[in-house]
Structures are given as structure tokens and as C-alpha cells.
């Protein structure tokens, strides 16, 4: 295995926050596997934490928790997994000490960087405008002490040719190049030390389609020629479909689904992946879309349990509905669509985390009917367990939420959705 992460998290402290514990939970508990010579796609929308995760892998950002095991033999990895699941801390720590990037000192890390590199999205800001192209390409070779300055200059010229640029570009400066040419330079820089792992952060998002195709083909050729493992981070599903073999889908800092490309993209299982796939416009195909309501959540205070549940079209009882969410939706219905039935006096009060109270109405039957009618549309109402008359109002008891994990499915993927919870785990 080229790279394996365990419980990798990054929580950014918020400057000027009132409490020091307020953190932006950009990435939570990410378990990523990148096999040798494999291209792994990581898709997600902006703010989903995919770029943060990619940078954590290379320690460009220091993760808050977790391990990043680099270039670990499969048997050792298995051993480590067992040690973790058996809570054999000593054994796990021993293996992590040998393979984890996070336990390397900065000078060890510098030499290790020879084996890994990154290509960024914006080719305009990823090349120093005041450096000549040869110097740009030679930088990793010199900084990681891969070779001497003279050798590096020679090799930089070869690399220019390798990525399809004329050799006489060596003395040019980045601003003399087009976006596609710059991205080729960035790729040449990234592969200059024969890395074994390449993180590609939106490598083609800033480029035109005709250039994008050239870059994608170049990346594929380089992978085949130098057997590089790649992590392809992008929001463009078609790019992932073209290059990747394994796909991870991220939403709000959490990996929602993982599996082979064919499975995840063609038969998505997680409701978010389904919505994402339906939103992708495909040339020559007008399709029915699942339009997600609302916006991605604020990661300082993410939704409880499943982070997708407030927008999920099939969320059900235990997905994580809070009393506040249900109260808001219920109030909206009572004052809008069901105004004729309930009138002006009705009011929803949050009594506790598991209990709501509707005041200003007589019988529970109306509320029950409303819930039954609207459950299919307004998913939060499914979080109501019982409707009881009590005192001057109606008391609604709620289901306790369950945190989903990445459940393995029979076809070998993982889906972080309670719909795929194995029955053995018991039902509510």
C-alpha cells in the first residue's frame, strides 16, 4: 500500500473565537487507502475538506489527529489494522513509528519529500513569477538533495521535453506561458524526483477543455511510465471518471462513500453521491435531477450524527434530527401550508433535546395527520417518535440519533449511511 491514513482529522482553530475550543472541523476521521500505481479520485464540493485532506497527507498542513502511513507493506498494514482493532496500542505505535509520516522529523521529512509531491489547481500562482522555468523544475531535486545543481539543470531540460514543452523554454519565465503550459511545468516539477506518490489538487480546473484533455492524457502516460500512485482531488466527476480507479466521495469534511470507480459513479449508493451524480451535466443528456435543498453546513458547528441529514432526500428517523431542526420545519408548515387547520395561535416549543411541545391546539390527531402527510417531503418530521396529548398541548418525543460509520457493502465498497447499516447491528 502506497499510503494509508487512519482517523486523519484536521480541526482549524478559529482566530478571534470566543472560546479556544471553537474549531473548524475541516476533515474528520478520514481513512484513505492509495494502492501502488493506483489513481484514487477524491471528489467533493468546495468546502468539503478534500484539499485539506490532500495537504494533510503530505504534511503541508499538520493534521490534528490520526496517522499517515507511507509506503507500508501490505502485511504490516494488516498487522497494524489488527493492532488498532484489538486496541494493542504498543504494537500499533511501533508500526506507526516506522511508517507514519507524522512521526518524522522535519529533516527526515525533507528527504522523504523526494517520494511525494503535489500539483496545484492554479498554474498562475503555483509558479514563482520571478523564477526561470529550469529553476522552478529543479527546486525539488535540489531541496531534497536528489541530485546536484548541475545534474538538476540537465534533468530539468529533459523534463520539459517529457511534459511536451520545447527545450528552449528553459530560460523563460512563467508569465510568458499559457495556462496549460504552466500546468505542464508544474507537473514536470512534481515528477522531477521520481516520486512514488503524487497529489493532484484540481489539476485541470483552471484550464480549458481542450487543454484539460491534453493534461489528463499526460498524467495517464506519466503514471504508466513511472508507476506513480496518484490522489486526484477534484470536483469534476468526469475527470475522475476518466483517470481514477478508486473513488472517495467527501461531504462536509467526512468521507461519505468509497469504492471502485465503476461502482461509485455508475451505481452510487449514498444519497449524497446520488444527488451529486445527478447534478453533473453530461453532454447530450437531459436528465431528472435531485436538487439538494439548502447549503452545505457550517463546519464550526456541523449537524449532529450524519452531516448530510439536513439536506438528505431520504433521511429517516435516526439520522440525527435535532429538536431545533424539527421545530423549525414544523413551525413553517403550521404557519404556512396548514394555516387553515391550525390558525394563528399555534406555537412550537423546544423542551429538551428529545422533546418538543406544540401549544395552542386541541387534539393530537391533526398533528399526527400533518406528520403523516408531510413526512415524505419534510424529512425532519420522520424524527418524531410519538405524539401524545399532555396538558394544554401536544408533546412530541424524538428518536435518538445514531452516528453512521463507513459500512462495508457486499460489493466491496464503504457507505457512510445508516441505510446500509448491517441488520446484525440491531434496529431501533
Amino acid at each position: 500500500m502506497m499510503l494509508a491514513t487512519f482517523g486523519l482529522s484536521k480541526h482549524f482553530p478559529i482566530r478571534g473565537a470566543f472560546r479556544a475550543t471553537t474549531r473548524l472541523r475541516a476533515v474528520d476521521d478520514a481513512n484513505l487507502r492509495i494502492g501502488s500505481e493506483e489513481i484514487v479520485g477524491l471528489v467533493g464540493e468546495s468546502g468539503s475538506g478534500k484539499s485539506t485532506l490532500g495537504r494533510c497527507l503530505l504534511r503541508l498542513i499538520e493534521p490534528s489527529a490520526g496517522e499517515v502511513l507511507f509506503d507500508i507493506p501490505d502485511e504490516t498494514l494488516k498487522e497494524y489494522e489488527e493492532a488498532r482493532s484489538n486496541a494493542d496500542a504498543a504494537r500499533a505505535a511501533d508500526i506507526a513509528e516506522r511508517f507514519s509520516l507524522l512521526r518524522r522529523s522535519s529533516s527526515e521529512m525533507r528527504t522523504l519529500r523526494r517520494h511525494m509531491n503535489i500539483v496545484f489547481q492554479d498554474p498562475y500562482s503555483s509558479l514563482n513569477p520571478r523564477w526561470k522555468l529550469t529553476d522552478v523544475i529543479a527546486e525539488p531535486m535540489i531541496s531534497t538533495r536528489f541530485c546536484t545543481r548541475a545534474e538538476a539543470d540537465d534533468r530539468a531540460r529533459d523534463l520539459l521535453r517529457e511534459v511536451g514543452l520545447p527545450e528552449f523554454f528553459e530560460n523563460r519565465y512563467p508569465h510568458e506561458l499559457s495556462g496549460g503550459q504552466r500546468q505542464r511545468v508544474a507537473i514536470a516539477r512534481a515528477i522531477s524526483t521520481h516520486p512514488r506518490l503524487l497529489v493532484l489538487d484540481e489539476p485541470t480546473s483552471a484550464l480549458d477543455v481542450s487543454v484539460q484533455a491534453q493534461i489528463l492524457n499526460l498524467l495517464r502516460t506519466l503514471r504508466d511510465k513511472y508507476s506513480i500512485s496518484m490522489l486526484l482531488i477534484t470536483h469534476n466527476i468526469a475527470v475522475v471518471a476518466y483517470l481514477a480507479e478508486q473513488v472517495y466521495v467527501m461531504y462536509a469534511g467526512v468521507i461519505m462513500e468509497r469504492g471502485t470507480k465503476a461502482k461509485v459513479l455508475r451505481e452510487p449508493q449514498h444519497p449524497y453521491t446520488k444527488a451529486l451524480m445527478s447534478a453533473v451535466p453530461i453532454v447530450g443528456e437531459r436528465k431528472v435531477r435531485t436538487i439538494l435543498r439548502g447549503d452545505p453546513p457550517n463546519l464550526v458547528d456541523p449537524p449532529q450524527a450524519c452531516r448530510f441529514h439536513p439536506r438528505c432526500p431520504v433521511a429517516f428517523e435516526i439520522c440525527g434530527w435535532t429538536a431545533g431542526e424539527i421545530a423549525e420545519d414544523l413551525e413553517f408548515l403550521l404557519r404556512g401550508k396548514y394555516y387553515a387547520t391550525f390558525g394563528d395561535q399555534v406555537q412550537v416549543v423546544v423542551e429538551s433535546d428529545e422533546r418538543l411541545r406544540v401549544e395552542g391546539i386541541s387534539g393530537p390527531s391533526n398533528v399526527q395527520t400533518l406528520i403523516d402527510n408531510e413526512k415524505a417531503e419534510v424529512r425532519s418530521l420522520s424524527g418524531i417518535r410519538t405524539v401524545i396529548v399532555q396538558g394544554g398541548g401536544v408533546v412530541l418525543d424524538l428518536y435518538p440519533p445514531v452516528d453512521p460509520i463507513l459500512y462495508p457493502t457486499p460489493d466491496g465498497r464503504g457507505v457512510k449511511c445508516l441505510l446500509y447499516r448491517p441488520p446484525a447491528a440491531g434496529s431501533v
Binding site: D208, V209, Q212, L216, A238, A279, V280, I282, Y338, A340
Partner: protein, 453 residues
């Protein structure tokens, strides 16, 4: 179908220190009434310049040596063209700026009212220090204050009996626009129908709630002075200069109308599917998410019921799921408003989703215009073919880039600008600019391959 906008042989040249940048080199394009026309092309092909020219928003170093943009029998670029033709090579940006200012004056009543534009970056096209409701209100206030005045007056004049009758008409005709309009006009309540209809069309609330909202329309009585002000504005069709110049008076008029503008903004946002619009109009741009912001920008563009809406890369800065929301929104508003759309995008897949026809631009010319299905199934121009084959799909079909680079428009190649990259180029291509050919119904292509011999 009639053309609402037609662009004829349009040339736009930018005079820069490094030479003349030929952004547009003879664009022919017509926008038909009620259609959604997509303009696709790679960066630097001139698609945004085309949109900006139509809005007369070009920078001061832009010269139009030739061409016309005809809207409502008027040429929108004649001043610039006359200037550019008069001075030829001795083009002076400062002089041109004066022409542009005159052009801007001539465009009042068109720009923002009859033709409006949605820009790529919703964050920068909204003013961060003004409430979004104010920005929508202001768009109406500046272009059509009489409409706002009519609304205020109608509400103050409406009686419960009249509303009862209005409800009757609404129910009988199921919100037919003409019928309600006629009813309002016959009772001297013009302006009321707009609000009543927008409530009637809401889908998020129950019928009884709508009825209550419509019954609640009659507003408080206006003071006599205010009423007279508004009546003058309605009669004049705009704010008379004495009202906009006199200090205190102008404040009163403005306050009255902007307040009404907020109401209109609320209605508009609700119709664009924004929940709690009464709260949203009081928010600032940074409080809204990307999708909401884009909706607000669309609302500003729609505020004056324009005839043409130009959207420049409306989905490039947003995520796929938000993009899906916006595409659905465009599909929805095209059925509910009486406008024609031009959508500019580099993403053919986005255009294919919403457009009736697609124009492909390359190096400052429209090289092909065809109905969407045709352009995808049977692309004619070699550039279009290569462009489509470069788009990766979920089927893992091998993609192929187009060899070479986009030409430097300071010295574009002669003849067909695509010939250096074209696999089918033959002896004619480097020397002669291709003429337009019509190989099939409704398809236009500029390529010598389609010359009939």
C-alpha cells in the same frame, strides 16, 4: 421567429501597449424571441466581449471599427463605430471614453431595464455594504419608479370589496395574467395585480394562506401630500426632475419607493424559490451562500422584466449541486418570464442542458450555430468536433486535446483562424476567411469544408 437582438459583422479591437488585440473579428449572431441561446468557447475566444458589447460596457480602450448590434431597430454601437471609423489608427482611449459616456446615456432605458446581465462572480457583483433587498429595490427604482408608485397607490386605494372581487377573478381564471390585469385596470387599481399574482403563484403556502395574504394587501392610507407625489410620478412615468432635485422632497420620494421596492424584492425572491424571503431581503451578500447569492443576482437582472437576459458564466464559480440548482432555476424562469436568454459558458455540458441553440466561438468569430441536439449529435465545424471529443464523460471514452495553442489575437493567423490546429485544413484555409454555409436547416457553419462545389 423574430429576432430580438441581432449582431452583424461585429469587430471589437482592444488597443493595448503591446498592440491591437482583435477580440471580435466579424461576429454574426441573432437571438430569437423567447429562446435560450448558448455561447460556448474557450477562454480568450471573445464570448464575454460579445456580452459586454451588447450591454455597452466595454473598456475605454475598445474600438468597434465595424459592425452593428441591432436591438429594437436601434444600433447600440453606432457611436463607437463612427468614432473608430473616423479616427482609424489614431485611436485615443480618452476620446473613446467620452463616446462611451455618451453611449451610456443613450443606453438608459435599455441597459438594466430591457437588457440585463448576470455576471460570473456573484460576490463581486453585489455591493457588500447594502442589503440585498435594497439592491433589487434600487434596480427597479432607477429604471421604473412609476411601477413602484403605482403599487403603493393601488394598495392604498384598494377596498376590501375590490379585493373580494379580485379574489373572485383569480379563482375563476386561475391566476390568468391578462384577466387580472384587465380587472385591475378597470377598477383604477393598476399595480395591485402584480403583487396579487405573485402571491397567487406562490407554491410554498396553502390556498387559504394566500387568500389571507391577498386580503391583507390594502395598505394604510397615504397622507395627501404623499399621494399627490406618487400620482404625479405615475402620470409622468418617471420621477420628475423637481422631485429628484429638491433635497427634502427627493428623500421622501426615494424612501417611499425604495420601501415599496423591498416588497417587490421579496415577491421576486420568493418566486425564485428562496424561502423566508422577508428575512433574506434584509441580509447582506456575505450572509448568503453561493447559490442564494446567484439567485439574488438573477433577481436583480429580472427586476425590470427585461426582454433579454445575458448570463456570463453563471455557474462557473459554483459547485455542481449549486450549478444544478441554477440550471433548474433558469429552466423555470424561462417558462414564467417573457424574455430571451443568452448564456455564455465555457462548459458545453451546461449549455446543452438549458439551451435551444448553441453558438461556438473561436478566435473572435462564431464558427458554428446549431440547435443543441444537432450540435451534440452532428457537429459540423472541425473545432466543434474536437471540442466535444475533448470533454471527458462518465463512459471513459478516450479524450483528445486539440493540438496547439489558442492563437495570439494580436496577430491572428490569416484566413480561417483555426487552420493551424485543424486536421482538415486544405490550401484555401490559410488565405481566405471562410464564408457562412448552411449545410442543414437552421445550422450555420463557417468552414470551407462545407462549400458546395
Amino acid at each position: 421567429m423574430a429576432d430580438v437582438l441581432s449582431v452583424r459583422d461585429l469587430h471589437v479591437h482592444f488597443h493595448t501597449r503591446r498592440g491591437v488585440y482583435r477580440a471580435l473579428n466579424g461576429v454574426h449572431l441573432a437571438l430569437r424571441r423567447g429562446e435560450v441561446l448558448g455561447i460556448a468557447g474557450e477562454s480568450g475566444c471573445g464570448k464575454t466581449t460579445l456580452g459586454l458589447t451588447t450591454m455597452a460596457l466595454l473598456a475605454r480602450n475598445a474600438a468597434i471599427p465595424e459592425g452593428q448590434v441591432i436591438f429594437d431597430n436601434k444600433d447600440l454601437v453606432n457611436l463607437q463605430r463612427e468614432y473608430a471609423q473616423r479616427v482609424g489608427d489614431r485611436f485615443r482611449p480618452k476620446e473613446n471614453e467620452r463616446i462611451l459616456r455618451r453611449l451610456g446615456k443613450a443606453m438608459t432605458g435599455i441597459r438594466g431595464k430591457r437588457i440585463s446581465m448576470v455576471f460570473q462572480e456573484p460576490m463581486t457583483s453585489l455591493n457588500p455594504v447594502l442589503q440585498v433587498g435594497f439592491q433589487i429595490a434600487e434596480a427597479i427604482y432607477l429604471q421604473d419608479p412609476a411601477r413602484l408608485a403605482r403599487r403603493v397607490l393601488a394598495r392604498s386605494k384598494a377596498t376590501p370589496e375590490a379585493i373580494q372581487e379580485l379574489l373572485g377573478v383569480l379563482q375563476k381564471t386561475d391566476g390568468d395574467e391578462a384577466a387580472v390585469h384587465d380587472f385591475a385596470a378597470s377598477r383604477g387599481l393598476r399595480g395591485l395585480e402584480e403583487e396579487a399574482l405573485s402571491i397567487w403563484r406562490r407554491r410554498d403556502i396553502h390556498a387559504s394562506r394566500k387568500e389571507k395574504a391577498i386580503r391583507g394587501l390594502p395598505g394604510p392610507d397615504l397622507r395627501g401630500a404623499e399621494r399627490r407625489l406618487l400620482e404625479t410620478i405615475v402620470a409622468a412615468g418617471s420621477i420628475p426632475p423637481r422631485y429628484s432635485k429638491v433635497p427634502v422632497l427627493s428623500r421622501i420620494v426615494r424612501r417611499l419607493l425604495i420601501r415599496e421596492g423591498y416588497r417587490a424584492a421579496r415577491d421576486l425572491l420568493t418566486s425564485l424559490g428562496i424561502p423566508h424571503s422577508e428575512r433574506v431581503v434584509r441580509m447582506y451578500a456575505h450572509e448568503l451562500s453561493g447559490g442564494m447569492r446567484q439567485r439574488v443576482v438573477v433577481a436583480i437582472a429580472l427586476a425590470n422584466n427585461p426582454e433579454i437576459i445575458i448570463m456570463d458564466e453563471p455557474t462557473s464559480a459554483v459547485d455542481v449541486t449549486v450549478q444544478a440548482q441554477i440550471l433548474e432555476l433558469v429552466k423555470q424562469i424561462r417558462t414564467s418570464v417573457n424574455a430571451s436568454f443568452i448564456i455564455i459558458s465555457h462548459d458545453l455540458a451546461v449549455l446543452a442542458d438549458v439551451c435551444d441553440r448553441i453558438a461556438i466561438m473561436y478566435a473572435g468569430r462564431v464558427v458554428e450555430v446549431s440547435p443543441t441536439e444537432e450540435i451534440l449529435r452532428n457537429p459540423l465545424h472541425p473545432y466543434t468536433r474536437l471540442l466535444i471529443s475533448a470533454i471527458p464523460t462518465l463512459e471513459e471514452r478516450p479524450v483528445e486535446g486539440i493540438p496547439g495553442e489558442v492563437p495570439d489575437m494580436r496577430s491572428p493567423p490569416g484566413g480561417c483562424a483555426f487552420h493551424p490546429r485543424c486536421p482538415f485544413a486544405f490550401e484555401k484555409c490559410p488565405t481566405l476567411v471562410p464564408a457562412s454555409f448552411h449545410p442543414a436547416k437552421d445550422q450555420v457553419v463557417e468552414c470551407w469544408l462545407f462549400e458546395e462545389t
